[in-house]
Structures are given as C-alpha cells and as structure tokens.
Symmetry: C2
DNA sequence: CTGGATCCCTTTCGATACTG
DNA sequence: CAGTATCGAAAGGGATCCAG
C-alpha cells in the first residue's frame, strides 16, 4: 500500500514546509498531468489513455486511485453496458487549479525555447 | 545516468502537454522543496540538511545535481578551508518561483485543516 | 469499456563507510 | 564542510492475461 506521506505523523517537528505538504498530494509522477486534463471537465478512462499514450493502464489506475483517496477527484460510475466511468475534479481538487495553471503557463513558455535550442 | 525526460525525443507527437514538461523539470521528489528554500537567497549544503532533516545526504546531492544540470540552480564553490558551497536560483530558475509560491500558499492553507482533522 | 491480478525487471532510495 | 562509493531493500513500472 501507499505509505502515508513523507514523514508527517512520525516526524515530530511540525514545521514541515508547506511546499513539501503540497508535493505529497500532487507529487505523483502523473498527477499533475491528470489534474490538468480534468480542468476542462469530466474525462473518461480511455480518454486519458488517448491523451497520454505514454502512461500505462496500470499507472493510470493507480494514480487515479490515489487522487480519489485524497479527495481530489470524483469517480462517477455509470451502471450501463458498456461501462462508463468519468473522473472529475472535486471541489477540494479545484483549489489546486492555480498551481496547475502556473505549471501550464511555464511549460508552454519554455517548451518552445528548448525545442528550438534542441539538444 | 538520468534518462533524458519522460518521452520527449523519442515521442514523435509534439503535443506533449505543457504540464508534463514542467513536471519533468521540477517533478523530482524533493526539487520543489529545495527550490522553495532557495527563494530567500543562497543556501549551503548543510543548511539544507538542517532544514529538511528527512532528506538523505545522498538524495540531496543527486537532486541538486539535476537541478544544476537543468540550469535551474547555480552552484558556487568557495575555495577555502573548510569548504563552502552555496546553491542559489539561476535567472532561469527564478522563472519557476510563481509555481513554488502557489504551492506554498496551498500547502499553508490546507496543512492546518488536515492537522485539525488529524487521524 | 474499465479496470483487477500477477509476474518480473528496473530504478530509486536509505544506510553506512570513507575522503579531500 | 561537502561530498563520493557501495550495497541491499523497497518502490516503480511494463507486459500480459483475465473479468464484469
């Protein structure tokens, strides 16, 4: 199972920096990306797979589960055939949007530059 | 050695989302935290260790090296005895500050809440 | 379509000891 | 003080098969 956070709990010093706390929540390898794609609205499992072809099914499931456990995303199952499951930002998850958008802005700006400089 | 990024390069589709790109740069487990502490000014190796007692010396070295390779931090060595090395945000690294500050704000806000809910 | 379960290799990471 | 080196444990992650 997922070990509960990077030290809060055992760690007695309560001054653990706020950034560390935030990264505990959204620091997963793919979480930022997944949250980003949910900003526009609910999104289905296989839509994620199309949008992020490099993430494996397994990882997608695991990361979504963790986000769900943390109350950041809602998972809505439509009992029908074929099954349909939609993921969306919870109210709590929405408070993270400013962070994600800052990341988006920065990424847009510097991705171009680095693709010019190439390597 | 550090493998070059999560797919950019091999991945032909150039639409890789900007958030993914950003996370490639600051997504390391401790990078956000380290950047955060450098906002206030240059900081020495052992200062980091005092501030973040849970990060091991090894990890601290590795993460700082990666940040240096990416041009985000400057590493200044003072040739003296005992040695003194200072790490600081580069001009490029400074462009990340808004993201870090958003993380700080969010963390401050929600750390309290969750410490009340406790467990 | 949306996953769960398993196998297994790779990478990460912590602990410890050592160095200029 | 600011690291490097090495080792073993743990976690990450891909591939494949199966199921409601």
């Amino acid at each position: 199972m997922r070990d509960r956070r990077s030290g809060y709990g055992e760690c007695p010093n309560e001054e653990g920096c706020p950034v560390e706390y935030t990264l505990d929540v959204i620091g997963g390898k793919w979480k930022g990306v997944l949250l980003y794609h949910m900003i526009e609205g609910p999104i289905r499992f296989n839509e994620f797979r199309r949008i992020c072809p490099t993430i494996t099914q397994r990882m997608l499931t695991l990361q979504l589960r963790e986000l769900e456990e943390d109350g950041i995303v809602n998972r809505e199952v439509y009992p029908q055939v074929p099954p349909k499951v939609e993921y969306s930002l919870s109210e709590f998850g929405s408070t993270l949007v400013p962070i994600i958008l800052e990341m988006k802005t920065w990424g847009e700006k510097h991705k171009k530059l680095s693709s010019i400089a190439a390597r």
